[in-house]
């Protein structure tokens, strides 16, 4: 039986990828960001899973306005790196896990979540920056990755409550997969940031840290928070944080494992326009 062993939460700021790719990671500005992931890189080497289920959002790269799936699960064997307009990031191609992905799709759709199954999908910085932060610059990523793209670009985006319940359904799906796989689920995006209009550059440390506290201790309560609170308090792009609730819902506290252990917590302002938040929670 497969099981979810841990969840990882991190911002996925594109400038972090650019800093790595252009060899700027040693600069003091970026050192402050990367220092928060030194522990995490070692942790991932010590706790390499068999599969990473990576929740992220596409930023008008794989999906234009032709089609806007709310939840899209990547079921392919391989995913190309997107050219977002600056050329594709020089990072390894992403290998999928079609067997587990198809199993999760079947189980979760039968649990009333309408996933879109995608077999061709270039992956953008939303997916590759978390991998870079957690793995550095390897020749190949340490394990297969199932990309799970959530629409947080066009409103209305899914509610926190729906995301949290979806996480629960993903856990159930993983636990019914008949191979002894260790699966990590990563929730990415956020924290507070706004990239548009005269309010661009908004950061709200108080909101972000309260979000981290509640994500750890009271995720079901946090999942009740309405969209408008994210927009008003954390900026129009801070709404990405609903994706963290998918990963948190998959930790399944109430069904046996109890509260997860906080292995690591980090918060820093700024990376480009954004507050960087990062957590690692382990099932005990």
């Amino acid at each position: 039986m497969a099981r979810i062993t841990a969840s990882v939460y991190t911002s996925h700021v594109p400038a972090i990828g650019a800093a790595l790719d252009l060899g700027k990671s040693g600069e003091p500005y970026w050192q402050k960001v990367f220092s928060g992931y030194e522990f995490s890189k070692q942790w991932l080497r010590d706790n390499t899973p068999d599969v990473i289920f990576l929740v992220y959002n596409d930023h008008a790269n794989a999906f234009s306005l032709e089609m806007i799936p709310t939840f899209a699960i990547g079921c392919a064997a391989e995913f190309a790196i997107a050219d977002e307009g600056w050329g594709p990031r020089p990072v390894p191609v992403v290998k999928g896990h079609p067997e587990l992905a198809a199993h999760i799709a079947q189980s979760v759709i039968q649990d009333d979540f309408d996933l879109t199954i995608v077999n061709r999908m270039p992956v953008d910085h939303g997916l590759t920056v978390p991998l870079s932060l957690m793995c550095g610059q390897p020749a190949a990523w340490p394990c297969p990755v199932i990309p799970f793209a959530v629409n947080v670009v066009q409103y209305p985006v899914p509610s926190g409550r729906r995301c949290f319940n979806l996480g629960r359904a993903i856990r159930k799906a993983v636990e019914s997969f008949d191979q002894p796989l260790k699966v990590q689920i990563w929730g990415t995006g956020g924290m507070s940031h706004q990239l548009q209009g005269p309010r661009a550059g908004l950061i709200n440390r108080e909101f972000d840290n309260a979000f981290l506290d509640r994500l750890i201790a009271d995720p079901a309560g946090l999942a009740q928070m309405p969209h408008i609170d994210y927009v008003r308090e954390a900026g129009s792009e801070g709404i990405e944080l609903v994706m963290w609730l998918i990963a948190r819902g998959a930790m399944g506290d109430e069904n046996g494992p109890g509260k997860p252990r906080v292995a690591h917590r980090f918060y820093h302002v700024p990376a480009s326009n954004t507050a960087v938040g990062h957590l690692i929670l382990e099932n005990t």
Binding site: S64, L65, E66, E84, P156, Q194, I203, E233, S236
Partner: protein, 147 residues
């Protein structure tokens, strides 16, 4: 009954909802076309001619030519799509975001390093924060020009 849009009183913020997406469909799809190197080259060679290949409104075309991202957003543009224009121009996301505030690149970068824009006074239209309509544009050069 009208739909509930509680986000309309957030200052300096346009939420890209289904209505904005409808307005901006061709503008945003034009932006997507710039993901191909060949399209970027054709656009740069003759911007107006390239824009005329798209069923965009005249005002949308003017907003793109002016590189006025706030104007583009009012007409249905979304920042992740508009970023393709910035990429074509060799601009970073921070330069693009900063351009919408009126601040110089340096002023905006310094604001971010100092912890970003404060939420205080910037939650609801009618307060007195720096993102409020009566305090635009921001930045020293803009204030001098407007004085």
């Amino acid at each position: 009954m009208a739909l509930d849009k509680p986000y309309q009183d957030v200052p300096g913020t346009t939420i890209f909802d289904a209505e904005q997406s409808r307005l901006g469909y061709h503008l945003n799809q034009f932006c997507m076309s710039l993901m191909k190197a060949e399209s970027r080259a054709r656009f740069k060679a003759n911007e107006r001619a390239y824009l005329d290949e798209w069923p965009m409104s005249e005002e949308q075309k003017l907003a793109v030519l002016a590189r006025d991202l706030n104007w583009c957003i009012r007409l249905g543009g979304n920042i992740y799509f508009l970023a393709k224009i910035g990429a074509t121009d060799g601009k970073s996301f921070q330069q693009m975001a900063g351009s919408m505030t009126g601040m110089s690149e340096e002023e905006y970068r310094d604001m971010m390093i100092a912890g970003g824009r404060s939420i205080e006074g910037n939650r609801v239209v009618g307060e007195d924060g720096d993102a409020q309509p009566h305090r635009q544009p921001q930045g020293k050069s803009q204030q001098k020009a407007g004085a």
